[in-house]
Symmetry: C2
Subunit: 290 residues, 2 copies
Amino acid sequence: MPIKSEVIANPKSERVRRVSELADRKGRKRSGRFMVEGPQSVRELLTWHPGLVEDLYVEVESAQPDASFATPVVAQMAGKAMQSGVYVHKVTHAVMHRMSADAQGVLAVADMQAFLDSSAAPDDFDEHAMVAAFWQVRDPGNAGTVIRSADAAGCSAVVLVDDCVDVFNPKVIRSTVGSLFHLPILTMGTDDFFAWCDTHELAVYAADVYGTDSRQPESLTDVIAAPETLAGAKAVLFGNEARGLTKEVLERTDRIVSIPLYGKAESLNLGTSSAVMLLSLAMSSHVERM
Amino acid sequence: MPIKSEVIANPKSERVRRVSELADRKGRKRSGRFMVEGPQSVRELLTWHPGLVEDLYVEVESAQPDASFATPVVAQMAGKAMQSGVYVHKVTHAVMHRMSADAQGVLAVADMQAFLDSSAAPDDFDEHAMVAAFWQVRDPGNAGTVIRSADAAGCSAVVLVDDCVDVFNPKVIRSTVGSLFHLPILTMGTDDFFAWCDTHELAVYAADVYGTDSRQPESLTDVIAAPETLAGAKAVLFGNEARGLTKEVLERTDRIVSIPLYGKAESLNLGTSSAVMLLSLAMSSHVERM
């Protein structure tokens, strides 16, 4: 599709206001759309799910029809979008800034339902599959970081369990740096999660340092030293950033694994601990297969 | 030492201004002091290095001499400080806010030179010792996070190599969540770092995904699968968050190790990759010793 030659230059126009409202859950609900900001996220969106994109806004240097793109990266994204048949709209700096302060010259508007439809989990998991699950993760930056780590660890899907932050929150999307478009992201309640794991024969590992009265956590050091025990598909469940997992949730899991702390630090944050746990399990599983 | 009964209530006083200026490098240089904000960091400072603390400021509910502490945690810190012989000053909310927006009711002022003197590295490292080194880390939040991970991995010291962010930057200190006071933090130039490693018989591992023209990185998966190769004291060197390590620096290292990425993510950020690398090496080293 062609790039529109006229430049959107009025920051107060209806279209610009509507895009800016996608920063809020209410605006997203009303329009059924979400925004994807910045070159890295937009590139991954255009690479993996170009069909979701309804409009791409790219910043140009002035309101003249022949104005240059704001940066070479912006020009590159515009070219990539046109190849994918996406509508590309040129906008001034003022318009882009009104749409989002974090777009770095490129902002895509995409369809939420189409994303959810395209983000279905596989029907079957192979014996080495690992799913990353996060229970009541509330901080948008954390949610994005853990999705990125799940991607790096080669997880087959991410499940946001119970009352988690909205995955379409722009800060979540920015923090995934494109990983949102690399693997299925599912949302379900606690009971549904355990039923789903049961149906798909996923063993549930809890990442937790305390355990329950009757079950001490196994140390991750011991777990990776016996990689033969890691055979079989699994879901690794992480708790809320402040409160962890409840005893009730822990009781329903198959294994409880804690990251050893060798120094005087009392804890790791959710982003760090999920990266260490998921990559360690992925590496051990790959060693076992060699 | 007793707690002063009068409450500091004037946000414009000379003392309050001087404390607030410790947020900037210039202010720290002028006075030779730095600020430690928030209950977690202050608790670790008082636990491990009470002798560094010159003054502790705690927030009370009003300017009356008998005003209550702002929160139970603030009261606890005041008690802990008095046991350690630290001067405790009561301040109003307005004064605390003028000193720092991130103090959560508790702020300590400590001596920079005394910290540096107390933060000396061991003369000898045992055969399992690991040092975490960061070359040109510039982002204060990253620097704090990596110090926390080095602490969790049981590192014997952290070395900030070449032109790194100032470790006394309040954002660095907040991001370490107290780990700054758990292990020696050293600062040195690149040549000095390699000479220091040589003197202390530390093998230098570079964490890097690219390697050089003549040296491909080893995968961390392979490295931890052969823990016998990890014997001996080592320093693990991480590069700048945007540019990594230069070829020149890489050529001077003994091993180059990369974290495998199993999914579609292109990279991990510095905080995540240092946590995964340091904890993985620590766990492997502990497995080897079992």
